[in-house]
Point group: none
């Protein structure tokens, strides 16, 4: 066998794409992504057949990373509030640690180059979590709007929280708490 297709290089390209797309949007040239990754222009295409494929893979990669972050240390035995608080903290924390990722994801979400299939697959990773939220909310004030709505609300509130943390990193803890409290009041079954 000749040089094996290196997983390192694949990850380097995805990481570069995360950065560059976070900065410039999905219109960023593949050449720039390749350079940032330290590979030749053509090499990018041995790992991703087309730019669209790269974009879709990156979307899944980011969503997957986010999910992993949220499930790590998940307090299965905690109260509803504790479990939700964990998810919130992990989500926001991931955004703080991956500022590029957060911005890249924001770009990809509104791009028409991400297929419905990819979106579905990306969301599937969170199905489990949504089920949890569903139970959380079953008896709460938003029971009629449905768990998808609550999940989306949580996502967008967390995104907003991330943005504020990105601008004022020192106040990270404060925004994280304030954001969660707001969310919890909004959905608290005991509210």
């Amino acid at each position: 066998m000749a040089r094996a297709k290196s997983e390192d290089k694949r990850r380097a390209i995805l990481a570069a794409a995360e950065e560059v797309i976070g900065e410039q949007g999905t219109g960023a040239p593949t050449a720039r992504i390749a350079r940032r990754a330290g590979v030749a222009e053509g090499t990018l295409f041995t790992y991703f057949a087309t730019k669209d494929e790269l974009l879709n893979q990156l979307y899944l990669e980011l969503k997957g990373g986010l999910r992993d972050a949220m499930m790590t240390g998940y307090p299965h035995a905690g109260t509803l509030r504790e479990r939700t608080r964990h998810l919130w903290g992990a989500y926001v924390g991931w955004g703080v640690v991956h500022p590029h990722g957060g911005r890249a994801l924001a770009q990809l979400k509104v791009s028409d180059r991400i297929t419905d299939e990819t979106r579905a697959e990306g969301s599937a990773a969170f199905a489990e979590m949504e089920a949890l939220i569903a139970r959380t909310v079953a008896d709460g004030p938003l029971r009629d709007a449905g768990p998808a709505f609550v999940g989306a609300l949580m996502g967008s509130m967390a995104d907003t929280t991330m943005e504020f943390i990105a601008r004022q990193p020192d106040a990270a803890r404060r925004f994280t708490e304030a954001g969660f409290d707001a969310f919890w009041r909004a959905v608290d079954p005991a509210g």
Copy 2:
């Protein structure tokens, strides 16, 4: 008065840009926008010197329209909750009436072609409103996070609400109410 005719064209171009960018993102060709507006490719550039200028103007146009919608019929004498409820309803209602505008704005928000200056100017239109929210919140649970945070939270929660309405137009009223109730619980000074 050559001016009147010109203004028509300017608005036609902006309207076309709203549609096209809502559908295809900021990468959409100016030629397509021109065609949709019913003018020649070159004409677009007599109204907007560059594509970036068009994009920035569109951003301001949309933000301005949104502001107008929110201030129309504003119940100056109402309670805090009533006034906030009005803003919420107007915001969400605007998104429902201007589906292209909502999507276009989502694209422009994440585009690096919108200058900081434009963003500032766009937000300025809401300064007045933020002041109102500030007062709303002054004694509420989010008083430490600041009015900007609460304003952003309101925006993102309303955006989420809009998206759900776009997918299930029949449930517009239900989502509008549920969304607002959630928001109000999150920020209610009396909560």
Copy 3:
């Protein structure tokens, strides 16, 4: 109206393509064709949407020119031999006058970028002529092989004649005669 799409430019591009493709085959870069035509790279694509379209149009253009050459001065009242001799002379003469065209046509004929539709359309221009050949041959020794075969034979024999003339222009007359005599002996109904 702005600048009208100029027929001159269209012809310049086709003429350039004829030359360049005659020299380098269908793999020749469109950029080179554009430069040879004295227009910008992009301009080529305002006249021909794709390279394939240019290639197919060129094929039809060349076939059409060839047909016109053959029908000019056609001796409707001549004997079978005279009429056939006219066609032969015109065909070979066209090749001598359009050396680029001849070579370009040779390339296009073997290219898989020329569609079956284009080939059919190109041949249709010669249908009339084939009918004539059909009558010529009806009672000749090749009656069983069919007029298409005889027409193709005439074409390939004339092509060969052209090639020899291209290499030895001084002997043009001699090769033209020798070639025709050979062809006529091959198909002469009185032979």
Copy 4:
């Protein structure tokens, strides 16, 4: 003997090139040829330093195969007509048996990547045959045009015959006969 194995691969590559180039022209990627040959992309270049070399070798290979086919069973003691008939039959027969080869040769003939040297070498293989034709024709009606012209005429008429057989395989025998008869009438010294 590592040689034997290598020779197999060399032939496999040439055979694959024959097919692929016959189908897609000289623009076909070397990668595709390699895959069709069942070897790695890089391996192709241990047998042929460049694509041009492969193309030129293939040209010679095809020409050589054609010559061998024509000389096999050559009736040295036959009449002029019999000998010429044998050549014709062998040529056309080769084309029928090697449809890829025929098409590949057609592509290579018009390619500017085949050097003059290669062309000369390829023709040299037929020198002997041309000498024969020379004698055949010495007293015939085409004596002034020269044996090269007659040889070329024979080639192009046979090519045309092949094409018709390719389209109507059932009529192979008929076309072969008709083609030869036409050619013979064209050159028959006794005509």
